[in-house]
Each structure stands twice: as structure tokens, then as C-alpha cells.
Point group: C2
Chain length 221, copies 2
């Protein structure tokens, strides 16, 4: 079984590592980070980089994972990347994304008419690709599975393992990585975080990430 | 604020990346992976490696995170590493571990008389270092915070952010990484997973990781 995790300069470290940790535990698996520009690929937070192989090194992956990041918007017109995604999806068992990675699936035309999700800050942007934005942690539609922000890749990957190998195997992997989450607060979604925290984080995102794709592409009235 | 995440050949990717992703969001922070043998440091699953700086490059970190891995037992007699840990702990605000990383804190003598946790497979081994093993996800005792297996580093790091910057800040970071976990099963701890899954995973650990430290160091009767 071949798993390709797509990264790029400015990907989010946990978007890629969460699925890596889970999917590495599939039987007889080879998990590889791939990138349009191969080599050491820095994440969006300083101090983290992963070595990525060329896209061509995995042209028929069984599972595709597209990581999100702070720079995803810049790749939405990258023909080589989108062509590889479309081609990989033709034969994949699961084509998946974490966080803003779903914008790339959208740009490749793979979310047309599908339910999909992404990081809450970009959720409405999915409409621009003909998708129906869904505020859920993991959204399955056909052979496509999209996940919400950053940490949701762990949940998504466990769903993939469940689909490929069954419940007992997925439970064993979950126990292996002891995924029994108990964060100190219950503030992990826009619906659960206090209103002022959502406002604060929206401001932080606006300054660090910039406007959402929907805002950038909606004609001014 | 300086954060040092200790890794080594055979560390677990998510042990290091979970805390990295959370602690990178502290204000004015510099997060650096460090290792006794610096350079590209491979994780315990093939295809993942991080560049690590020498231990000496961060001799007074504010936060220390010791990652776990499949090879931690081999480092329990590594004097240079243990000396660095003891010295770093003298001035750190928080000295923390994920998964089997707590065995290294134990070997450095830092868990003597303290409550602590680790991956469930190694939990009893903490007694050999004079610690009281606690089956909780995150255990705080003095300035030491230990976490359970692999994924628990995310929860632990959010606790550290909460302690350093307060609840609203920790909630904002949690929302930023959208940590609103919804795994497909509730099998992330020994107490929650079905008995046969615990048995299966214990067998897998015995084959892949080997005997626990407690088993290796208990004299045969």
C-alpha cells in the first residue's frame, strides 16, 4: 500500500505528521512525503522541515493526503500539482485532505458537487470550487475524505484506517498512539470556543494568514 | 521564550510534532529540535526525519519537551543526554515529556518521588525510577509535566500554554489548530479499548518495541 502525503513550502507540520503517524501503521505500507518542488520543505512555523520526494515518485498512490498550510492559496493555480492530484485520484482508494489542503482538491476540480470541509477560517471558500461546505470534523463523499483544521488529520486518518482495515484494526492503531484526547479546554471549534476567543483568533488569522480565498475572489460590490 | 524538543534516532514523529505545533504559537517563541547526535534524525517509522541542533545550542530552555520513541530504552545510560536534561531542568519553567520520553526524565533522576505517566505499555517501568505511575493523560508535579502515549503531547502542550499564558490564550491556540477531537472509535486508552484490542496491541508492541523496561530490569525469580 502506497500513501503519498503532499507538502509544500509553508505546509503545517501537524497536518502532515498526524496522518503520517496513523497511516504508517497500516499493514505493508510505504508512506512518502511528496512535493512539486522536492527536497527539504519548510513548514509554516520556523524550525520544522521534511524531506519530500518528487510527485512522479508516487504516481499511483492508494491513499493521497493533501496537507494544509499558510501558503496553500498560492498553489491554487499550480498546473503540475493539480494535474498530479487529478491523475492520482483516478486510481486512489482514498483521496484526502487536512485543513486548507481541501482548497487544492477544489482547485483540481475534485470537489465539484461534493460535501467537503476545511479549516473554519476558509470554510466558505469551498463554495468557489462548487463544493458544499460542511462544518464537520471529517467529511466523506465518494472516495474523497476532507478534514477540518490542523489536528483533524489524526481523526481523518483513523477513519481511513477504519475503512481500509476495519474497526478492530483502527481501534488498535488508536490505542497504539493512545489517542484519548483530553485538552484542558473545550474550545476546539468555532461553535465551542468563547465568542471573544473566536474573534481574537480570527484577527490573528487575518494578520498571519491573510484574507480567506472567498474574500479574495469575491468581486467587490 | 526558548523551547527545546529533544529527539533521537527512533523518536516518534507525532510525539515531537504535536508539542511543536502547539508551542510554536507561544508569543515570541523559538522552538528548536535538539539531539545528542545532531543532524538529520530519523523517526521510528520510515520516511520521517527532522533536523536537530546540538544540545549545547539550547542550554537554558524555558520549556523542555522530551519526545518518546521506539528506542528510548537505549538512551537510559547516556550520560551526556542525562546531564543536559538535569541542567536544563534547573532553570526551565516546565520540563515535560511525551510517551516513553518520561523514562529519560526518570533516568536523569528528575521523577524521584513524583507522580508521572508515560505510554501505557511502559507505565509500570516508572517505578524503577522512584516515580509513582499514574494512568492519566497529563500529569503535573512541580515543574514537571509528563504525558501519556504519542498523541497526548498535544494535550500536554496545551496545558503548558494554559499555565504560561492563561486560559483565553490556550483556547485560542486550540481553536487555531482546531483541536476538537472526534476519532471514529473510543478506544484510545487501555481502559476504553475492547479487551481483545488491548491484547492485540500488547502483542504488536512486544514484537515491534520489545519488552518493557520494567520487564528487562526486574531480576528473574
Amino acid at each position: 500500500m502506497d500513501v503519498a502525503i503532499l507538502v509544500y513550502d509553508g505546509f503545517t507540520a501537524l497536518d502532515a505528521t498526524g496522518p503520517f503517524e496513523v497511516l504508517s501503521r497500516l499493514p505493508d505500507v510505504r508512506v512518502r512525503f511528496v512535493a512539486g518542488t522536492p527536497g527539504m520543505t519548510p513548514a509554516d512555523q520556523p524550525g520544522f522541515a521534511l524531506e519530500a520526494a518528487p510527485l512522479e515518485s508516487m504516481d499511483r498512490p492508494d491513499v493521497v493526503v493533501v496537507a494544509g498550510g499558510s501558503t496553500t492559496q498560492r498553489l491554487l493555480g499550480d498546473d503540475a500539482l493539480l494535474t498530479w492530484l487529478r491523475r492520482a485520484h483516478e486510481t486512489s482508494r482514498w483521496t484526502t485532505s487536512v485543513c486548507t489542503g481541501s482548497l487544492l482538491l477544489g482547485a483540481a476540480g475534485l470537489l465539484e458537487g461534493r460535501r467537503a470541509t476545511t479549516h473554519w477560517y476558509e470554510l466558505e471558500s469551498l463554495r468557489g470550487f462548487g463544493a458544499e461546505p460542511v462544518s464537520e470534523r471529517v467529511v466523506e463523499d465518494g472516495r474523497i475524505m476532507t478534514a477540518a483544521g490542523v489536528s483533524s488529520g489524526i481523526d481523518m486518518a483513523l477513519h481511513v484506517v477504519d475503512r481500509l482495515e476495519g474497526a478492530a484494526y483502527a481501534q488498535a492503531v488508536q490505542l497504539g498512539i493512545e489517542y484519548d484526547p483530553q485538552p484542558p479546554h473545550d474550545a476546539g471549534s468555532v461553535g465551542k470556543a468563547p465568542v471573544e476567543v473566536v474573534r481574537l483568533m480570527t484577527d490573528v488569522m487575518r494578520r498571519s494568514y491573510g484574507p480567506s480565498w472567498a474574500e479574495l475572489t469575491t468581486p467587490a460590490t
